[in-house]
């Protein structure tokens, strides 16, 4: 067998040609994402480390970040409490109009964010359908931020939870019922724990979507400032170099939270 090594190598490449070509094409979109974020961080660190350090000591920046994280958490919690039962019903039952409901759930994804803000304002604004009767103030207040985040992020949780419930075979529930567990107990002891990974992933995506929202929030509540609004304000009032350090801090913050949540989701 003459020179098997070279021959092997050539035919191996031939064999997986499509995958190699695809990897090269796919690399563009990956590079685009990585480059954009890495360049921003490196530019800041290399050109203006002092500005970045100063930003980390700015309490108004941290206030905005914590407000973002907190309101996104509230929105996720509300989406979870109402969305998980809805997802379970959609996963288990077939009824007329189910396709319509599924469409409604996906609607917030397609509605432009500022349009969502305007729509929420007509409902929760001072003269809005709910806003005029409500004791809570929504406009330029925390409830307004939460409502905007809930609107745009709930679909992610509902769709992921639904997938999770669909992955639990109904026969497991049947067996639990036959062993004497009521529908509610079966849900708590069998269905919910087995879908918990999907539920956690859904909650993470929901939180991530909420914490990143700007358009809907800025319409209903410019103040108190969440982090995306703060960055926009600094960009408008002082330009790129003033908004970049906060952006870098936020990228790092989101990255850390995201990595932690993903690791948590994997461990379960």
């Amino acid at each position: 067998m003459p020179e098997p090594d070279i021959k092997d190598r050539i035919s191996l490449i031939k064999h997986e040609r499509v995958l190699i070509l695809f990897s090269l094409i796919g690399f563009f979109i990956l590079a685009f994402i990585i480059l954009t974020l890495a360049n921003t961080i490196l530019t800041q660190v290399l050109l203006d480390l002092d500005g970045f350090i100063k930003t980390t000591r700015d309490p108004s920046v941290w206030d905005a970040i914590f407000l973002s994280a907190y309101t996104a958490f509230l929105a996720t919690a509300i989406a979870f409490v109402s969305g998980v039962p809805l997802a379970y019903v959609l996963a288990r039952e077939n009824f007329i109009g189910k396709g319509l409901i599924e469409g409604v759930i996906d609607l917030p994804i397609v509605i432009p964010h500022t349009v969502a803000g305007i729509a929420l304002l007509t409902v929760f604004g001072r003269h809005g359908l709910i806003g005029q009767f409500s004791l809570l103030r929504f406009v330029d207040a925390v409830p307004g931020i939460v409502v905007a985040m809930l609107f745009v992020s709930a679909p992610f949780l509902i769709n992921s939870a639904r997938e999770g419930f669909e992955s639990v075979d109904p026969r497991l529930e049947n067996v639990a019922r036959s062993l004497g567990a009521s529908g509610w107990r079966t849900f708590c002891r069998i269905t919910f724990p087995l879908a918990s990974r999907h539920l956690l992933t859904g909650a993470i995506m929901c939180w991530a979507r909420a914490v990143s929202e700007f358009g809907a929030v800025v319409v209903i509540a410019y103040h108190p400032m969440i982090a995306p609004t703060l960055i926009y304000e600094r960009y408008i009032s002082a330009g790129l170099s003033a908004s970049r350090p906060v952006s870098v801090l936020l990228i790092i913050f989101c990255l850390v939270i995201f990595v932690i949540l993903r690791i948590l989701a994997r461990k379960r």
């Binding site: 049947n174 067996v175 036959s178 062993l179 004497g180 567990a181 069998i190 724990p193 087995l194």
Partner: protein, 350 residues
């Protein structure tokens, strides 16, 4: 007692049609039918997992047609086990007990007792995905019977197992159902399971129960050709083990005695199964290694193409080539000796 009256359910393109069935308390009832006959759906309706479109289900005189499954006291075992994957074997088995107001000690004791009975006590801390198919099905059975249901529904419980495990678990199922006196409905497509386990058998085809009766009755007198083709006709003989000589058992079938190889004790009531091809017919008694030489009269001769099916008055059916039949003069009312080896008899407890 389970009574099913005019039960009907449409399920996509399939229909379960007007099922009428009565199963006695403590009876082991086997529903035998090909894949797609609707056997699983029937069990799921009895268990209450789905509501029927019409018809009624009664247990011991109470209608339970619309009762939720958790109130029916019916154990259910699926072909694919469906153990709770996030629980250990012990947690799986004790699941039903933990839903009741029992002390921890009681739960532990009863769980361990059942696990011991099924030989899975050593697996108690393992998770389902580390178990073999046979072990998983033992856990599923233990989980179902630990709460002592009045009725046990078994949906092809042995079909996913390999041959050796299937035989072992089949015998154990019979013993367990005896021990607890449970009413069992066991669904299968396997004739041997039906013969070995069933007190009575219901043959199910295309959503209908087409024949119900004692195992022997159904297998020897299939209602029509379709049922006969599905069952294959077999010799099913009821008897009692009269005495044992070493490994050899003498079985008293009433009119005649036969010899068989089995480990069952004398005095026990048994069924003996003999495939018709195993029986050799001759005009004079033979001195051969076949232990059984039975004198009989030919009751019926059926031509089945290259082979001939011969029914004897002692309740045996033999199959032989047409030429042999002609050469030996095997005709109606002729006296013949039917011989078959002791190893050709398959003996199971009744």
């Amino acid at each position: 007692m389970i009574e099913i009256k005019d039960l009907h359910k449409d399920w996509r393109e399939f229909s379960l049609k007007d099922i009428n069935l009565e199963v006695e308390k403590g009876e082991y009832f086997v529903v035998l039918g090909p894949t797609g006959a609707g056997k699983t759906l029937l069990l799921e309706l009895i268990a209450g997992f789905y509501p029927p479109d019409k018809g009624e289900i009664w247990i011991d005189g109470n209608e339970i047609t619309r009762l939720p499954p958790e109130k029916r006291k019916i154990g259910f075992v699926y072909q694919d086990y469906w153990l709770f994957p996030h629980m250990t074997v012990e947690e799986n088995v004790s699941f039903g007990l933990r839903l009741k107001n029992l002390s921890r000690k009681d739960i532990k004791e009863r769980t361990e007792e059942i696990m011991d009975l099924l030989g899975i006590l050593h697996l108690s801390r393992r998770y389902p995905d580390t178990l073999s198919g046979g072990e998983q099905q033992r856990v599923a059975i233990a989980r179902a019977i630990v709460i002592e249901p009045e009725i046990l529904l078994l949906d092809e419980p042995l079909s996913a197992l390999d041959a050796r495990m299937r035989d072992r678990l089949r015998d154990e199922l019979k013993q367990i159902s005896r021990k607890f006196g449970m009413t069992v409905i066991h669904v299968t497509h396997d004739q041997t399971e039906a013969m070995v386990l069933g007190d009575r058998v219901g043959v199910m085809m295309r959503g209908e129960i087409v024949q119900v009766g004692k195992v022997r009755e159904v297998f020897t007198k299939p209602r029509d050709e379709e049922v006969a083709a599905f069952l294959g006709v077999e010799n099913v003989l009821e008897g009692v083990i009269k005495e044992k000589v070493g490994e050899l058992s003498i079985i008293d079938l009433g009119d005649i005695n036969i010899s068989a190889v089995s480990g069952i004790r004398a005095g026990e009531r048994v069924n003996a199964f003999i495939r018709p091809e195993e029986i050799t017919l001759s005009k004079v008694p033979l001195e051969t290694s076949a232990r059984n030489n039975i004198k009989a009269t030919i009751r019926r001769v059926m031509n089945l193409g290259p082979v001939v099916r011969i029914e004897l008055d002692v309740g045996l059916v033999a199959v032989t080539t047409r030429q042999s039949a002609e050469e030996l003069g095997l005709d109606l009312d002729e006296k013949v000796y039917a011989s078959f080896k002791a190893t050709a008899v398959h003996v199971v407890r009744r």
